[in-house]
């Protein structure tokens, strides 16, 4: 009996407090912007709206990107500043990932294509869309989580770490 780990420690080896508190804060940040502006702020539109500053392609010059590009830069700077402030306060600042740069770059390309083609990301569909009870978002999240689990399991099976 005392040798078996309780199920909760197998599922959540680091506990759940930081995950739940972090999630509530992410939702709170989304809610703060929504209460004042009525906008559901997702993080991935920033990629396209920022490209509108430099690209003359009609796709990026659509009013929805040009009209929102300034506040999306401010939103992203806020995310960077919030994370920086917290990590400086706790002494975690300077942590660096061991995931290989090539994986980050190739994965990033797929994330850039997929989130923009699919109309949203983990925050746009995952937080705002699921929070809205949108069937489109729930379908999108189900697909990206399923595919991500499959790919991450293959990466692990190939012996690639982390």
């Amino acid at each position: 009996m005392n040798e078996a780990l309780p199920l909760i420690e197998i599922l959540f080896p680091r506990g759940i407090a930081q995950y739940l508190i972090g999630g509530i804060l992410i939702g709170l940040g989304t809610a703060i912007i929504y209460v004042g502006t009525g906008i559901h702020a997702g993080a991935s539109t920033f990629l396209e709206s920022t490209l509108s500053y430099g690209s003359k392609l009609r796709h990026f010059q659509q009013p929805k990107f040009v009209a929102s590009r300034d506040w999306r830069v401010v939103f992203t700077l806020g995310i960077v500043a919030g994370a920086a402030g917290y990590s400086l306060a706790t002494g975690e600042f300077g942590w660096t990932t061991d995931v290989q740069p090539s994986r980050l770059f190739v994965g990033g390309i797929l994330v850039g294509v997929g989130t923009r083609l699919g109309k949203g990301c983990t925050s746009g569909h995952g937080v705002c869309g699921v929070g809205s009870g949108s069937r489109t978002s729930i379908a999108n999240v189900a697909i990206f989580v399923l595919v991500a689990v499959g790919v991450a399991q293959i990466v692990m099976a190939l012996g690639v770490t982390p």
């Binding site: 972090g22 992410i26 991935s44 009209a67 190739v106 929070g131 991450a152």
Partner: protein, 159 residues
């Protein structure tokens, strides 16, 4: 600064950009607290070694969802923009499915998504710039290809 004929969202109220910054900062603190800014933690979730991310996404969508629901039900408009409170509803089409699959492949390969990558930069993880650069390349690529596709489908259309 703004594109011709386009009224920028932030031109409506002087507190608009400060509020967006504060909301973004709280969002960023949440990503740092939840450890989602670390690709390793995301990968461990996807590899079934730590299911904690369920609480991150669950907690975030619950708080956002209750806020959206209550304000949409109030029938009122947002004070800084005059925008009517509503839910985030996007139309369903093939792009939602294909895009979700491509995003999932990238997320599973690297453990990064847009918001978490910005926060990762904030915690001093400079290597994440490879991922952010990749995201811009990907976003540009799909914009370029979609424009080429729409031109091929309707060569006469000029918007």
């Amino acid at each position: 600064m703004s594109g011709a004929g386009v009224i920028a969202d932030h031109e409506s109220h002087p507190l608009f950009l400060p509020l967006v910054f504060v909301g973004g900062a709280v969002f960023g603190v949440g990503l740092a607290v939840s450890q989602m800014a670390r690709p390793e933690i995301v990968l461990e979730f996807l590899q079934f070694r730590d299911f904690g991310l369920v609480f991150v996404m669950g907690g975030a969508s619950a708080v956002a969802g209750v806020t959206f629901w209550a304000l949409t039900r109030s029938g009122r408009s947002a004070p800084l923009t005059g925008k009517r409170f509503g839910r985030r509803l996007k139309s369903m089409d093939r792009d939602v499915i294909v895009g979700g699959g491509i995003f999932g492949a990238g997320w599973g390969l690297s453990g990064i998504c847009p918001g978490a990558a910005y926060a990762s930069l904030g915690i001093g993880n400079a290597v994440i710039l490879y991922g952010v650069a990749g995201m811009f390349v990907g976003a540009y690529l799909q914009g370029y290809l979609r424009e080429a596709r729409s031109d091929a489908e309707s060569p006469a259309a000029a918007d």
